[in-house]
């Protein structure tokens, strides 16, 4: 299975900042093995009173993500992501989406 990376992001491009929140991230940039990117808006989760992390987890799992790069992932979201085998890398905030992906690919995350 090829690696598909999801990055919680404040905007739709590789130059946008990583959103440190997972469940209430503005959206996710999805990067496939060939380097193609697309953007999933997460506004619906931001508006939820609770369960935002779980819904966000479902959203990136449906997009086929196998790896998530984010700031902090809450316990219920982590449980949901683990159930579908999405690997989670935390502490990827204070950088752009492109920098986070480069850091992950360099194996230094």
């Amino acid at each position: 299975m090829s690696t598909i990376i999801a990055v919680s992001s404040e905007g739709p491009t590789l130059d946008d900042a990583v959103d440190p929140r997972f469940g209430r991230a503005a959206g996710f940039v999805i990067i496939d093995a060939a380097g193609n990117t697309r953007y999933i808006d997460n506004g619906a989760s931001q508006a939820m009173a609770q369960g935002a992390g779980i819904e966000s987890a479902r959203r990136i799992a449906e997009a086929g993500a196998t790896v998530l790069l984010s700031g902090v992932v809450g316990p219920k979201a982590a449980q949901a992501l683990s159930a579908v085998g999405v690997a989670v890398v935390e502490g990827m905030d204070n950088m752009t989406v492109a920098e986070a992906v480069a850091k992950y690919r360099a194996g230094s995350a």
């Binding site: 939820m48 009173a49 609770q50 369960g51 935002a52 779980i54 819904e55 987890a57 479902r58 799992a61 219920k76 449980q79 949901a80 159930a83 579908v84 085998g85």
Partner: protein, 295 residues
């Protein structure tokens, strides 16, 4: 008669008033009384009444359990649940027990009856007596985030105890949780009347106004006890006048009261004058609720 003792702000004296009313109720009104602590997140009425607990039972919330072999992954339960408590991750149905509000909607909507009943413990219901005073309280499980379901379970237990007691059963004093959100509303919803305990501080007055706003639509007789009366009480008087709420007692800002409280002593036992005040308050509360209910 069921009377809820509530407040907007916490720490205004709900338990002080509840405990002392319970202790003088029988003497003031010649009626048996039951004291119920509904502040299930941090119950403390027992510290003042010191009841002997004779029965403890768990209170549970019904949550879904999905049979993954029957489930077709149609996602109807996920669409219905407003709390994200049930979902399908990849190809597996998943239940997040601690998010569930126990409405049973997922089970009702499931087209293939794949969802059965499980339970989550909300907390414990304890009952007993302190002398002639009946006692009941709820104690939320540590880690449980939702208190209204346990508050309703305590009230359901109260209801069955009152049914068993027959008519005329005891009067009931409900020590409500602070605030004006779901737990407080759940606690006062079944009462015949509400006593708001407040204090003349900026926070006290602010939250008192919120409480008046939140509870007035319930259409129940409502009255006020001012605690730590002194500087600033004038503004509270104005708010009460505006809302047409009678003030049934004013407990002065008195070090003797604070010292008694710190020792777990009842306001009614501070001295003869406070006892007289509490007896008068019990009579006034009963009268106000009785007349308000029939008005």
């Amino acid at each position: 008669m069921i009377v809820a003792i509530a407040s907007g702000k916490g720490g205004t004296g709900k338990t002080t008033v509840s405990a002392s009313l319970a202790s003088v109720w029988a003497e003031a009104l010649a009626r048996p009384v039951m004291a119920v602590d509904l502040d299930v997140e941090e119950p403390n009425l027992h510290l003042f009444l010191r009841p002997v607990i004779t029965r403890t039972q768990a209170a549970n919330l019904e949550i879904p359990v999905v049979d993954a072999d029957i489930c077709t992954r149609c996602g109807e339960c996920r669409e219905l649940c407003q709390f994200g408590a049930i979902t399908i991750m990849g190809d597996m149905p998943m239940v997040f027990a601690e998010m569930c509000h126990g409405c049973g909607g997922c089970r009702a909507i499931c087209p293939v009856a794949a969802i059965g009943r499980g339970t989550r413990e909300l907390g414990r219901i304890e009952e007993g007596s302190a002398g002639a005073i009946g006692f009941l309280n709820g104690r939320l499980r540590i880690g449980e985030a939702m208190s209204p379901p346990l508050i309703r379970a305590v009230l359901a237990r109260l209801d069955s105890l009152l049914q068993k007691a027959g008519a005329p059963g005891p009067d009931v004093l409900l020590d409500a949780p602070p605030g004006v959100s779901c737990p407080a509303v759940a606690a006062v919803a079944e009462a015949d009347g509400i006593i708001l305990v407040t204090e003349p501080t900026p926070f006290g007055i602010h939250d008192f106004k919120l409480a008046v706003e939140a509870f007035t639509p319930l259409g129940k007789p409502m009255a006020v006890v001012v605690n730590r009366a002194g500087a600033g009480t004038g503004e509270l008087h104005a708010v009460c006048r505006e809302a047409s709420l009678p003030i049934l007692a004013e407990i002065p800002d008195d070090r003797a009261v604070a010292e008694a409280y710190a020792r777990g002593k009842l306001l009614a036992d501070v001295d003869a004058a406070y006892r007289t005040m509490c007896l008068g308050l019990a009579e006034a509360v009963a009268k106000h609720v009785r007349e308000g209910r029939h008005a």
